[in-house]
């Protein structure tokens, strides 16, 4: 019994070690080099930030757009989550899986999709102009805050949808039924029953969406145009182009400080819920009965499909059509090395590389993420310690990729840890970003497991691993799938510092896309779109496979 316990504690230390070695150490190294060159402090960066109205405005805008994006995302995802929790309809789990697709696409490509749809010359405007015989395009969203928000929602909708749905799936409807019997209906049930009940999941997804949009880079740069800049954009500029490391470090620390403040608010709001009533999903979801329910279902799904999938379809369409005629030339071009370049990677090799990194990342992030969640939620661990551990593991998400990339090359530079040019640095960087997704996906469910159930099992003589297998795992399974899906997506979409480290010739699908978009010529552009379509296809197939693993392997509650 005690041996078990000590082994368990040992396991719990693994994610801490991982974080310390591959994240905190490089981060501290680059901060040290930036703020204390030649062993004396250089705090000029902070002075610049404090005295400049420009950085204050940038900070305010960065927070403001992140708050708006988060509120919009959660607001739109809630009715969606309701539909997915309460109703049975065809292709439900398929739809839920592929809702994550936008998340893997590089921003340049998504920007293309949106301008093909709602740009000045986009399809929607052309239709509207010919319908109402208008002179100018009625929808003019280019380079406005609106388009930034729309695309942020497009990217993050699935985070909120999937995290809330996975939590809600096992929440009993009994309190709701009771409230209804007592005469509550409509908004009262939402306000007094559902929202409080869903608070852990709503907050968990909100904090992720906030941090994600707070550090937004590509969306703001490409779609917002030059008048908008987030802190992340400033860090990128100062670190790479000006090479003003003290200022870049100060801005990075400011970013981290804001994230810590948000996490503090989050932990405050996320009070433990004393009693949670769990119920099997099979009793919760049913077919829509009344015409109103059917309408609600159709409107919700319709909006979701139009909003999420038309931009993706626009991309696929463009990858298959050249000058009005159907063609596969962009796809075949992806497999032939026309320029005979030594660095050419045929599509299949890029797909292979991407899949390998994504699988390694998913497994590593799941193992480390689950341990992290137990570490944070654990009994036996001091509440204050766990309150600090939580934001610590969220840090990689809020740390500028440029900063961390520099940290890697100066910190991990001596054998046996000379990983600077190692292929392993890529899955390591991906895993760092993926862990917060796994943790946030399972933590609400983990905290809601009633202690008395586990105690009863222990009293009845079940050993710890048996309790975990029969009680924890089934209750966590939905969260695990969501976490695994996002870990996979993070890696496929090439998030994080891996773009900023020197890499040997192991091109992934997004890297090939970036490279193609850096060269003139219609064929390169078409090939980039074709590769993006393949990226979606491979990801969709993987999501479905991940979902299969669950229904085949792990029990459901």
């Amino acid at each position: 019994m005690t041996m078990w316990r000590w082994m368990w504690y040992g396991f719990l230390l693994v994610p801490l070690l991982f974080l310390a070695l591959f994240f905190l150490y490089p981060l501290l190294a680059i901060f040290d080099l930036s703020l204390r060159p030649d062993n004396s402090w250089n705090l000029s960066g902070f002075t610049q930030i404090v005295t400049s109205a420009y950085y204050r405005d940038t900070l305010i805008f960065t927070i403001w757009q992140a708050v708006l994006s988060t509120v919009l995302t959660i607001g739109l995802a809630l009715p969606g989550a309701y539909v997915f929790t309460r109703f049975d309809f065809p292709a439900k789990s398929f739809l839920l899986s592929i809702a994550t697709l936008p998340f893997v696409l590089p921003t340049v490509v998504v920007a293309t999709a949106f301008s093909a749809l709602i740009g000045a010359r986009g399809i929607v405007n052309q239709v509207l102009m010919s319908l109402f015989s208008l002179e100018t395009a009625p929808i003019q969203l280019e380079r406005t805050l609106s388009i930034i928000l729309i695309v942020h929602v497009f990217y993050n909708y699935s985070i909120a949808l999937r995290m809330i749905t996975s939590y809600w799936a096992n929440q009993s409807t009994r309190i709701e039924d009771a409230a209804r019997v007592l005469g509550a209906n409509g908004w009262r049930i939402w306000w007094h029953v559902r929202l409080p009940m869903l608070r852990p999941a709503i907050l968990a997804s909100a904090i992720l969406v906030f941090i994600f949009t707070f550090t937004s880079f590509g969306v703001v740069l490409i779609l917002g145009g030059i008048q908008f800049a987030t802190l992340e954009v400033q860090i990128y500029y100062q670190a790479l182009n000006v090479f003003n490391l003290p200022l870049a470090a100060a801005l990075s620390l400011l970013q981290i400080a804001v994230m810590f403040a948000m996490m503090l608010i989050y932990t405050r709001l996320q009070r433990r819920i004393s009693s949670v009533d769990l119920q099997s999903t099979r009793q919760i979801a049913r077919k829509p009965k009344t015409p109103f329910e059917r309408l609600f279902l159709i409107v919700n799904l319709g909006t979701m499909i139009v909003f999420l999938f038309t931009p993706l379809l626009a991309l696929i369409y463009r990858s298959l059509v050249r000058e009005g005629a159907f063609t596969l030339e962009y796809y075949t071009a992806l497999t032939s090395n026309t320029r005979n370049s030594v660095l050419f990677a045929p599509a299949i090799e890029a797909i292979g590389n991407s899949l390998q990194f994504a699988i390694i990342t998913t497994i590593a992030a799941l193992l480390l993420g689950v341990l992290t969640a137990y570490l944070i939620a654990g009994k036996g661990i001091n509440r204050t310690v766990s309150r600090w551990l939580d934001p610590l593991f969220m840090l990689p998400l809020a740390t500028s990729a440029v900063t961390l990339g520099f940290g890697f090359i100066i910190a991990l530079d001596t054998p046996p840890l000379d990983l600077r040019s190692s292929v392993w640095l890529i899955p390591i960087a991906h895993t760092l970003v993926a862990i917060p997704f796994v943790v946030r996906s399972i933590l609400p469910a983990l905290r809601s497991i009633p202690l008395h159930v586990k105690e009863s099992a222990a009293i009845l003589g079940a050993p710890p691993h048996r309790i975990w297998w029969s009680i924890d795992l089934p209750l966590l399974s939905r969260g695990l799938i969501v976490g695994a899906t996002f870990a996979f997506t993070v890696s496929m979409g090439e998030f994080g510092a891996s773009l900023f480290v020197a890499r040997p010739n192991t091109p992934t699908m997004p890297i090939v896309i970036f490279r193609l978009l850096g060269q003139p010529g219609a064929t390169n552009y078409g090939q980039a779109l074709a590769m993006s379509s393949l990226l979606m296809l491979v990801s969709a197939a993987s999501f479905i496979a991940i979902e299969r693993i669950r229904s085949a392997g792990i029990g459901e509650f």
Binding site: V108, R121, L240, R503, N505, P520
Partner: protein, 354 residues
């Protein structure tokens, strides 16, 4: 005479290569470079076969990032040879003292204008001009003459036609900004001229020029010949871009560059041997290889730039459709590094009205 000397050095180079093969069969040379680097398989294979050196290629980001990484890892470099520092970042690299000097005998065939460092800490390899590209059909259909000077771009007939890149984060964007600085000067200059580059940019923005984040967004998102969504027939791109708009069926290119005096900025890319390398001999061979006619003739189609070796022939498509400006803007490379931040800050303030 010169030719004979060249042949002798080449033979010596290959002999020394042979010596290395004899001494050590598995020298691995690491080339640190940016994401745009490329070389033909057979060209690199010939080098490896002739010298017995295995070449590994490490890539990350753009030229600026490669230089920054090299500075951060000074003394314990990521590789042996760095390729991809250009004249806008050269001064930063030289000040940080990250290179071992090496004077390649092949520099003989390289024009003086490209040899910016007299101490030969870096060796020029290629150059490319950042120029405006225009949509030929648009200008023909609208019977519009092509602008002949930067100042022309502020005229009403070119209103809303030009898309440029943000110099703060885009390398061609910065190159174009430098061209405007060379043309109009800065407020700090002592001369009588009171129309500075900032006034020019005020007029350019007032004339509805669009500023985008990157070359990709400008070219593929907004240029009429780059994508179906584009509405701007003028774009800041490279003099080497037009050959890539060549259409085999119609046998025409759809774009051309404007190479009028002072309208382009020349980017020269350099290679250097990184201080701290354990393979200095192999690194020297590699620098020679990069200046060799074989590699130099490979450069246009792999990296969309021009060879500095005057012996190298241009591919037919390049010779026909890629114009080379005779009088690109001239700005001292040391001045670029010294003033980059100020120029960009003032530009940002002007363009954004902050």
């Amino acid at each position: 005479m010169r030719l004979r000397l060249f042949v002798i050095t080449l033979i010596l180079v290959f002999l020394s290569g042979g010596v290395i093969v004899a001494q050590d069969d598995d020298v691995t040379l690491i080339l640190v470079t940016h994401d745009s680097f490329s070389v033909s398989e057979d060209v690199l294979a010939n080098f490896e076969a002739a010298t017995g050196i295995t070449v590994e290629i490490l890539r990350a980001g753009d030229g600026g990032q490669v230089v920054n990484q090299a500075i951060l890892t000074a003394g314990n470099p990521l590789g042996d040879v760095l390729f991809g520092v250009d004249n806008t970042f050269l001064s930063r690299a030289l000040n940080a003292d990250i290179f071992i000097p090496y004077e390649s005998p092949l520099l003989e065939n390289v024009d003086e204008q490209f040899i910016l460092d007299e101490a030969h800490r870096v060796t020029p390899i290629d150059y490319g001009d950042v120029c405006l590209n225009y949509d030929i059909a648009y200008f023909e259909e609208n019977a519009l003459p092509v602008p002949e000077s930067l100042m022309d771009l502020t005229l009403p007939e070119y209103r809303g036609l030009l898309v440029v890149e943000n110099p703060a984060i885009s390398s061609p964007g910065l190159a174009f900004l430098i061209a405007t600085i060379a043309e109009f000067g800065t407020p700090e200059d002592d001369d009588e001229n009171d129309y500075t580059y900032l006034d020019f940019w005020t007029d350019l923005i007032a004339n509805d020029a669009l500023v985008t984040d990157s070359w990709s967004t400008a070219y593929f998102g907004n240029f009429t010949q780059g994508s179906e969504d584009g509405v701007y027939p003028l774009v800041v791109s490279y003099a080497s871009s037009p050959p890539f708009t060549y259409n085999e069926e119609t046998d025409i290119v759809t774009t051309a560059s404007i190479v009028a005096s002072g309208m382009c900025f020349r980017q020269v890319e350099f290679a250097g041997i990184l201080d701290g390398t354990e393979n200095e001999d192999a690194a020297r061979l590699f620098i020679d290889f990069m200046l060799s006619v074989e590699f130099q003739e490979d450069v246009p189609f792999q990296m969309f730039v021009f060879p500095v070796n005057s012996e190298a022939q241009l591919p037919a498509l390049f010779a026909e459709y890629a114009q080379i400006p005779f009088e690109p803007a001239e700005v001292d490379y040391a001045a670029i590094e010294a003033n980059r931040d100020n120029w960009i800050a003032a530009w940002t303030e002007t363009v954004l009205g902050r």
